[in-house]
């Protein structure tokens, strides 16, 4: 053993904030190595992956566009994770939100008031909440593990959306493609910047992030949830109900993911189709962690994650590598974070090549 792991006397605040940066750098380095391994010039590949996509206004618009759903999902998840509620099904709650918000828009095609969009957002948030509520109910009433339930519900939501766009909601004029009719103008998010696709979804996501920051910082409920997450016994002693935390954790996560679903349907996609998200709900889990469950950190982390997505697309076009490389990047990023987290509570001590085992302690200066 070259290193020995030693506990720190107190956790390192520096490492707590440096670890996400360190892991992002390590993930990028590992990515460059991967490119080298598959026969591309790593410097050029790095340039194509991380610089080209955001080198003009259009690219930055795309970056913010991709950031919005990831940020929304991650904010909701982080509030749950703080309370130790393992909602892994943001993807399914996003789909539920897309179904409810998009479905409402399809029913309201005759109306074009400015209330249509807000109504869609309310419907989407309620849809996401309802989907998450199933998991909360089963967890509280029957003690069913929320990780497995939210995941299974994700598959079910995806299949239900597939049923809708192949069946009752299929566009009659869509050449038999599995998609709904395009949403009418009043149900679309307005564009913000000429020359880009950037829409109102991004500011909405930022507002939600600010609201989450206020909630975490200033509300008694968030405090209770956090105590419940960190020390269940202390929370019980203080009389903070665990059930209420599970409900709040899952409902907030569901609502945010539902909003993300509406942002996608009313923004980028503009209709309902079989696939409304390339896994934003799962990427958001990573983002919540990299952002240290802190809204500001999550904003930065979701920008990075969005860059992984558009970098992957760019690399596919320019270098001809499969866009699946994005998934590899996402996974490696979280691996490195989990690894560098060790340095928060422990320090590595160089022991050289000679130490045979942990038993032979050095004898100090004497």
């Amino acid at each position: 053993m070259l290193f020995r792991i030693e506990p720190r006397a107190e956790t390192s605040r520096f490492m707590k904030h440096a670890a996400p940066l360190l892991s992002a750098l390590l993930a990028m380095a590992a990515g460059s190595l991967l490119f080298l391994f598959i026969g591309h010039d790593p410097a050029y590949a790095f340039y194509v992956f991380f610089i080209v996509p955001v080198s003009d206004l259009y690219g930055i618009g795309e970056l913010c566009l991709k950031t919005s759903p990831i940020l929304l999902c991650a904010i909701g998840l982080a509030i749950g994770f703080r309370a130790n509620v393992w909602n892994i099904g943001a993807e399914g709650q996003l789909i539920a939100g897309a179904i409810c918000g998009g479905g409402l828009a399809l029913q309201l095609q005759a109306f074009d008031g400015i209330w249509v969009l807000p109504a869609m957002f309310v419907a989407g948030a309620l849809g996401g909440m309802a989907w998450a509520a199933v998991a909360a109910f089963l967890r509280i009433r029957f003690n069913a593990n929320e990780i497995l339930v939210t995941l299974m519900l994700t598959y079910i939501a995806g299949l239900f959306l597939s049923y809708l766009v192949y069946g009752p909601w299929r566009s009659p004029t869509g050449f038999n493609w599995p998609e709904s009719t395009a949403l009418h103008e009043a149900a679309r998010l307005p564009r913000l910047l000429a020359g880009t696709h950037l829409n109102l979804g991004f500011p909405i996501a930022l507002v939600v992030a600010c609201a989450a920051w206020l909630f975490i910082r200033h509300s008694y409920l968030a405090y209770q949830m956090e105590v419940g997450g960190k020390a269940i016994k202390a929370a019980r002693y203080a009389g903070f109900g665990r059930h209420r935390m599970i409900w709040m954790g899952l409902l907030i996560g569901g609502a945010c993911a539902g909003l993300a679903g509406v942002v996608e349907v009313a923004g980028t996609i503009g209709k309902l189709r079989e696939v409304v998200s390339p896994g934003y709900g799962f990427a958001a889990i990573i983002v919540a962690y990299i952002g240290r469950l802190n809204p500001l950190g999550i904003v930065l982390a979701s920008l990075l994650m969005a860059l992984f997505y558009i970098g992957g697309e760019q690399a596919k076009v320019t270098l001809g590598v499969p866009s699946a490389i994005t998934g590899i990047f996402q996974g490696t990023l979280l691996f490195f974070l989990l690894m560098s987290d060790l340095l928060i509570s422990y320090k590595l001590k160089w022991t050289g090549f000679s130490t045979a085992s942990g038993l032979s302690e050095p004898h100090g200066n004497g």
Partner: protein, 307 residues
């Protein structure tokens, strides 16, 4: 005779559909019994499936593909073991990371193989030949890997309950401090158990891509890895109950195919939902008995150990 043959075919299909669940669940069982909760089964299965398919398609050898699938699964689990055991990372988060990573890696490995089909010398299904007994038809109809799975089941059961290393493994999962104090290497045992789980998940994936379908499709495990994790809970960490649980789920899968082909006008998506809905239903039934779950869960499951 026709009905009996139909039942036999149904049985073969059920056992075959249950095989990957049995493999992945038995592997996860051993890992969890040593005190490690690896939620990355889905990711390890996918990587196993893609590697096995790529190797089988390139080399023409299904066996070589399966072996490489097992190795790929074990390699994936080694990453998990290093992070959770040596770096003491949170097991739930690391398992999720492993699944996300596995989805990416498998899509990458498989990207050159979509649309490729394997030359498979399939099982000898000879359903309507009268001189073969019903039992013979059944036995001939199963995949060789299914037999391997059954042998592995008996090995795992014997190992856990009748062998000394198995006792050590259970001790490590229940009271790691005591096991450490009497000189067992807790981390060593856990590393091996996690890697066994990874290899089994890899074989489970290989079974899907090389024998069952046999094609490579992105995300082809479709949640089976998660169902395998759930099965371990359903079975209250008991290998025999895992086998029955897997058969139940294999049955649900086959039932869904048969309703689909019976053309009852039920949209296929609702039928495809059945295994997932069944997972939730069974999970609810099993978990509501808190005492039983508490009694059977390995006492140190998901608790990091620092020697």
């Amino acid at each position: 005779m026709a009905e009996i043959n139909f039942i036999v075919i149904l049985l073969i299909a059920t056992v075959t559909a249950a095989t990957p669940l049995m493999l992945a669940s038995l592997g996860e069982l051993v890992a969890e019994r040593s005190g490690v909760l690896n939620l990355g089964v889905e990711g390890m299965m996918l990587v196993g499936a893609s590697v096995a398919f790529a190797v089988a398609a390139s080399s023409g050898s299904l066996l070589l593909g399966t072996v490489c699938g097992a190795l790929a699964g074990a390699l994936m689990s080694l990453v998990f073991a290093f992070l959770t055991l040596s770096c003491m990372a949170n097991q739930v988060a690391t398992g999720l990371a492993l699944t996300i990573f596995g989805i990416g890696v498998s899509a990458y490995i498989g990207s050159g193989f979509t649309g490729v089909s394997l030359e498979v010398s399939g099982p000898l299904v000879v359903p309507f030949i009268s001189d073969v007994t019903i039992l013979g038809t059944f036995l001939l109809g199963l995949e060789p890997l299914t037999y391997v799975t059954i042998v592995l089941f008996f090995c795992v059961r014997w190992f856990l309950y009748k062998s000394r290393p198995g006792l050590m493994l259970r001790a490590v999962g229940d009271v790691p401090d005591a096991a450490h104090a009497i000189g067992f290497s807790v981390l060593g045992v856990r590393y091996l158990a996690v890697m066994f789980g990874g290899a089994m998940a890899g074989v489970a994936g290989a079974f899907l891509s090389v024998y069952y379908t046999p094609v490579w499709v992105e995300n082809m495990t479709a949640g089976r890895g998660w169902i395998a994790v759930a099965l371990v809970v359903f079975a209250a960490w008991n290998p025999t109950r895992i086998m029955f649980g897997a058969l139940l789920f294999g049955g649900v899968t086959i039932l869904q195919f048969h309703i689909q082909s019976a053309n009852l006008g039920i949209p296929t998506q609702f039928l495809t939902m059945l295994p997932y809905a069944a997972t939730i239903a069974v999970l609810v039934i099993i978990s509501s008995d808190r005492a039983r779950i508490l009694l059977n869960t390995p006492a140190s499951l998901a608790v990091p150990f620092r020697p």
